[in-house]
Symmetry: C2
Subunit: 117 residues, 2 copies
Amino acid sequence: MKHFGPHVRNLRETLRKQDRRYSLRQVAARIGVEPAYLSKVERGEVAPPSEATTVKLAHELDQDADVLLAMAGKVSSDLQAIIRKRPQVFAELIRQLKLAPDHAVLRVVREVREGEW
Amino acid sequence: MKHFGPHVRNLRETLRKQDRRYSLRQVAARIGVEPAYLSKVERGEVAPPSEATTVKLAHELDQDADVLLAMAGKVSSDLQAIIRKRPQVFAELIRQLKLAPDHAVLRVVREVREGEW
DNA sequence: TTTCATGTGTCGTATATAGTATACATATCG
DNA sequence: CGATATGTATACTATATACGACACATGAAA
């Protein structure tokens, strides 16, 4: 998605109002990238970072990693690994649920969690 | 996976016993790559091809594209797109079903298909 | 037997990915 | 006011991805 950068900037600046340690430079340092790079990322001048960096950023900003990865146009590699182990089953599942409303999908999740298999 | 190439070679050579149009060169031509490249792919000398090329190859060899993509270490981009639209819901679903046996997952698929939402 | 097809070896390349390093102008704080 | 912190502009780079082009030796077919 195109608005990954600005969204990150919003999150960071919101946090900053409460805590001045959320400057671009300090966040960059904590997630292990150069400030100049994070600056370009936040302004959308470059593509979103790698999965690893995006996940660190999500934790830093107290966000759901899967959501931030999605905004970065990615799907976390552990989910991909699960799918790749049983491609047919999971492909069918996901395509089948493509149009299902959230509550229907979540009902399935709950049913499975209550383990009736 | 490491055995993508040899597996493709097996499939192709099996088909070839029935139909001599399944030479490496002819298959390469039909899927739109150079023979030298397909040769290297089949021997695992280079990484598996792109998603697009892998899908063409799957069709050519009458295989399930998702399965061949999985062997190539990939997840098809249309599945990824579905996940990215609702990352939290699908992430939870997939992680929840990680350890569920196939028949349990497929039961879910069937239930959903019979549309009770 | 010559011709044609087949598989492969070698070299090169365009594009994307994921950043680093340095320098600099402005803002802020003590 | 001076020191320090902040965001950004510019230039550069290393590695991966995904192939193409060409030449060549061998095998099968006509």
